[in-house]
Amino acid sequence: MTTIVCPTPLTDIARVQLGHGSGGKLSAALVRERFLPHFDNPILAQLGDAAIVEVAGQQLAMSTDTFVVQPLEFPGGNIGSLAVHGTVNDLAMMGARPEWMSAAFVLEEGLPLDVLDRIVQAMAEAARAANVLLVTGDTKVVERGKADGVFINTTGLGKRWPDFAPGPTRAQPGDAVIVSGPIGRHGIAIMSAREGIAFDTELRSDSAALTPLVELLRSRVGDAVHTLRDPTRGGVASALNEIAAASRIGVELDEAVLPVPAPVAAACEMLGFDPLYVANEGVLVAFVAEHQAGAAVQALQRHALGRAATRIGRCVRDHAGLVVLKTGVGGHRVVDMLPGDQLPRIC
């Protein structure tokens, strides 16, 4: 029989694609091949959620992020509140208490000012609730069609707590993998707002500042927390893959205990999505030394944001760099990083 030829996807690309921004393999390749070679320094090379710099003996965490979400306003927040939460969370994941942030706005000509007002109000509320000061800002305006309404770029700064230094390279075989809450809410909330899918009870983004959860973990189990990450774009799967690679350990997950809310599961079935790849904005993943795992989960559950905290897996010495899932029926599959965005499928 004539051979059936595999149409393997093209990887030799000369232009930026949307997939480069999805937090998957293309994103990682872009950073590795186009940026790192030019900015090579030991601080950047850590590639954590935030950079750790030292000033007069005090470690500081510094993070940066740009928010381009569409639609600008969605159930559970808007681009403004998202900007604060995302910035705060990047710092908290590196063991720092977020204190100051900047915000630079790129506004599209024609953006209604009442939309801008709602965005800024939400930002202010989120910053107040997170005890973060917006200390410097910038505004630019670009022509109609060049900015999707609003883009917001932020920088966050915070002091690292003493004796608490979670980082992407510190996960160890034997560590428990814990997730602080139900997964997949933000991505599905956004997708439904965009695609006109309605829910019985409205599904809201989980966008939230995670500092209280990090403080609880620190006070309860301290340095037993080896790694923290907020699984935003690319979902829990991408975050775990990055840490598995950085720490050179394998990760085993148990599908039966993944906390996926029913509306998220249903929407994923409809679209052919896997909840493990859907973005979250109010959830953290923690790698905690085994003997303190129970205490860590209990600590998280004491806070409203962490009520549904649960252990979802563990780190192993085998298959370093690979995340393996034990499936609902008892088989196994590898949960790899996607090349780009998850595409809705009909097949």
Partner: protein, 87 residues
């Protein structure tokens, strides 16, 4: 080419002459074209939906019958395993 999901029909209407409806998939609702099942379905029935079209009414009686057979078989298996374990 086969992502078809079962959902419950919660609303039936006409849209510019085309039979349309709202289907509930475990709490998520979407508009679906009911043209190909219009004669067979009513609100409360289940249908398989593919790319926004209901392509088949779920035969609930058949589903129950065959599922019960499967369940019985798996319970028998459980009993056998237990027998194997007994001293």
């Amino acid at each position: 080419m086969c992502l078809g999901i079962p959902g419950r029909i919660v609303e039936v209407r006409q849209s510019e002459g085309l039979p349309m409806g709202v289907v509930d998939f475990g709490g998520v609702r979407r508009e679906v074209c009911l043209s190909y099942v219009a004669d067979e379905i009513k609100v409360g029935d289940y249908a398989i939906v593919h790319v926004g079209f209901a392509i088949s009414k779920v035969d609930e009686a058949e589903a129950k019958r065959t599922f019960d057979v499967l369940r019985e078989m798996s319970q028998l298996d459980e009993l056998e395993w237990l027998k194997d374990l007994a001293p």
